[in-house]
């Protein structure tokens, strides 16, 4: 491993505007060398523009791009030690697979490319296909050629622009693992752009969630999932139940909230909004953190857990778990996922239930933001 940090990517105050439209608001971002970094967001959130500014295909309107200690802001793409795997691959249709992969080496004046190209094609398991044209390969094979064509140049950073978007689900899973394996093997910094939250969480060490040209939150997949700080992140990564609650009092490290006549406890550390008595916060809880108990057994629920009452509106059995929709006074579509370990036969639509969960799994968000930001309903609207 190199130790000169030359594979760091540092974006300082970088932004991009097209006329009056701001694609990327000034943002600072550091991608440490050797990490697998994902830029996650819906289409039009500025993630691809950010990637293209690192590649040099887009000139930033302000700010600087550093690779290690080198300022590359004004270098053209062909002078940057960075390579890109393009969306839909952009393989050269008039060249065969071998020449596609050799392209970068030849442009840098390297004469004997044969051995390197063959080794690279072996790495992506395409040794047999060297003399075929790109259109003769399947989508998954083309994708691997695109990766090989970029990696052979030993870039300091590999940029991936929705590289798996054109593949079907099964192949996508396979390629996710494959890319992760290659990244571990070569140890190059990967910056990966995707709109697929599952893909970002599976592959990346660090994920930056982008929305409207800004980074909403940055962190490890687990951190983002467990401690979302905005409703967008809470809804975009997985599913969240969000309810509006009023701050009742502070009790040591906890905040006591009032919602729908009941009391909920939220650890102060997990609340990203200022909580003053009488003010409002959004309380969030992930569906799989909630337990369901039939109303008749409400007495058996241990003390100290947050609880809400409701009625089962819908139940769908999906094998490993059952997904319930609960109609409760605070929220009429409360999602609850219960593992199918011991199924209670009484939990059918129409049954009265108590939902309860550990306060430690509760998170609090600023109530001033749209409660449905980042949900699919919002995206459709």
């Amino acid at each position: 491993m190199k130790t000169d940090n030359s594979g760091d990517v540092r974006l300082s105050g970088i932004s991009k505007t097209y006329g009056s439209f701001t694609a990327v608001h000034p943002l600072d971002l550091t991608v440490p060398e050797g990490s697998f970094f994902a830029l996650l967001g819906a289409s039009g959130c500025g993630k691809t523009t950010t990637l293209r500014m690192i590649a040099g295909l887009e000139e930033p309107s302000s700010g600087t791009v550093h690779l290690g200690d080198q300022d590359v802001t004004h270098l053209p793409p062909y002078k940057r030690p960075v390579n890109t795997v393009f969306q839909s691959y952009a393989l050269f249709p008039h060249l065969d697979i071998f020449e596609n992969v050799a392209f970068g080496l030849r442009r840098r004046g390297i004469k004997s490319v044969k051995k390197q190209v063959e080794e690279m094609l072996e790495l992506v398991q395409l040794g047999e296909q060297a003399r075929k044209k790109p259109h003769q390969l399947s989508g998954g094979q083309q994708q691997r050629v695109a990766v090989a064509r970029a990696l052979i140049n030993h870039p300091k950073v590999l940029l991936l622009d929705e590289p798996l978007g054109a593949l079907d689900l099964k192949l996508r899973r396979q390629m996710q693992l494959e890319l992760k394996r290659i990244q571990t093997e070569v140890g190059i910094t990967f910056v990966h752009v995707t709109h697929d939250q599952e893909e970002a969480m599976t592959m990346a060490d660090t994920v930056a969630v982008m929305n409207g040209g800004r980074v909403e939150q940055l962190g490890s997949p687990a951190d983002l999932y467990e401690n979302p700080r905005t409703t967008f992140v809470a809804n975009f990564l997985g599913t969240s139940n969000l309810i509006e609650a009023e701050v009742d009092a502070k009790n040591g490290d906890d905040i006591v909230l009032r919602a729908g006549g009941g009391k909920l406890v939220l650890p102060q550390a997990r609340c990203s909004a200022p909580a003053t008595a009488g003010g409002k916060v959004l309380v969030g809880i992930r569906p799989e953190k909630i337990a369901l108990t039939h109303a008749d057994d409400a007495g058996s629920i241990p003390e100290g857990r947050n609880r809400l009452t409701g009625k089962i509106a819908d139940a769908s059995f999906i094998g490993v778990s059952t997904q319930y929709v609960i109609d409760s006074p605070v929220c009429d579509e409360f999602a609850v996922y219960v593992q199918n370990v011991e199924r209670d036969g009484r939990l059918v639509p129409g049954a009265d239930v108590v939902l309860h969960w550990s306060p430690a799994h509760t998170f609090g968000l600023d109530a001033a933001q749209a409660i449905d930001a980042g949900t699919e309903e919002e995206a459709d609207a």
């Binding site: 590649a55 793409p77 062909y78 969306q87 839909s88 249709p93 008039h94 392209f103 064509r149 970029a150």
Partner: protein, 266 residues
């Protein structure tokens, strides 16, 4: 009715063959009559098989001179029109500039304009400018009307080209010149070649515009026209058949080469 069933089943093939015959019959006549030994000055009735004309293709006074002139004009018109037309096509697809859409439609005008009118207008223009009619006026006129066809052919190709291919080239250490030579040009090549072939054929064929602006210069189509009034030498058919054979050979070679290349790849 077995015949009706048979007809129904093979209707597409029959229609195809009839159309092909319709297309090729004139060529067959040209070829057959290139082996004729006509009685008088006109080669319109079949008399007797002879290879005399094939053995002496330049036997007719001035014919090979006009043929060589036509080939030269066609060559230079192709070079000029292809160069200019390719550049125009790239400009129209790649750049947003004032009057772009106007230029886009103006390019089509020479194709839509009746040739006779254009020929007469060109003559007016050349005479007013005091230009000496001949090789150069013909060449200028030919480049002008071939241009539109090149632009149309190349534009279609450039428009369907994924802009990411050039970005990929730049990303892979190819500077602007390298990107153009290694990626843009090879991918646009089929369109450019189509435009060039079309230009060559159009220029070589052209009679009307050429006739108006040639002065005392005589191209091959003008020679054929002129001689047709006094008698048609068999050599005209020989040249026609030879041109046809060259074109067929050209197509066959490119097909064989293409096939072999594909087989090697597989």
């Amino acid at each position: 009715m077995p015949f009706v069933t048979w007809l129904k089943r093979h209707l597409v093939v029959i229609a195809g063959l009839l159309t092909l015959a319709y297309l090729l019959l004139p060529n067959v006549v040209v070829t057959v009559f290139s082996f004729n030994k006509p009685k008088g000055r006109f080669n319109y009735e079949w008399q007797q098989f002879s290879t005399a004309a094939w053995k002496d293709p330049c036997g007719v006074a001035d014919m090979c001179g006009s043929l060589s002139l036509s080939l030269q004009i066609a060559f230079w018109a192709t070079v000029g029109a292809t160069l200019l037309g390719t550049m125009i096509a790239f400009a129209l697809v790649r750049y947003r500039f004032r009057a772009r859409s106007a230029v886009n439609s103006l390019i089509f005008l020479p194709m839509a304009m009746p040739e006779v009118v254009m020929a007469a207008s060109l003559l007016t223009l050349f005479l007013n400018m005091g230009a000496q009619l001949g090789f150069w006026t013909i060449l200028i006129a030919h480049i002008m009307f071939c241009l539109s066809f090149v632009v149309v052919a190349v534009k279609a190709r450039v428009m369907s080209m994924d802009p990411r291919l050039e970005e990929a080239a730049r990303d892979l250490y190819a500077g602007p010149v390298q990107t153009f030579l290694r990626v843009t040009l090879p991918i646009a090549a089929p369109g450019i070649a189509a435009g060039a072939l079309l230009s060559f054929a159009l220029s070589f064929d052209d009679f009307i515009i050429t006739n108006f602006n040639a002065g005392s210069t005589v191209t091959f189509p003008m020679f054929v026209w002129g001689s047709a009034q006094r008698g048609t030498p068999v050599q005209i058919n020989v040249i026609g058949t030879a041109m046809f054979l060259v074109a067929v050979l050209f197509v066959l070679t490119s097909m064989v080469v293409g096939n072999r290349r594909n087989k090697q790849k597989a």
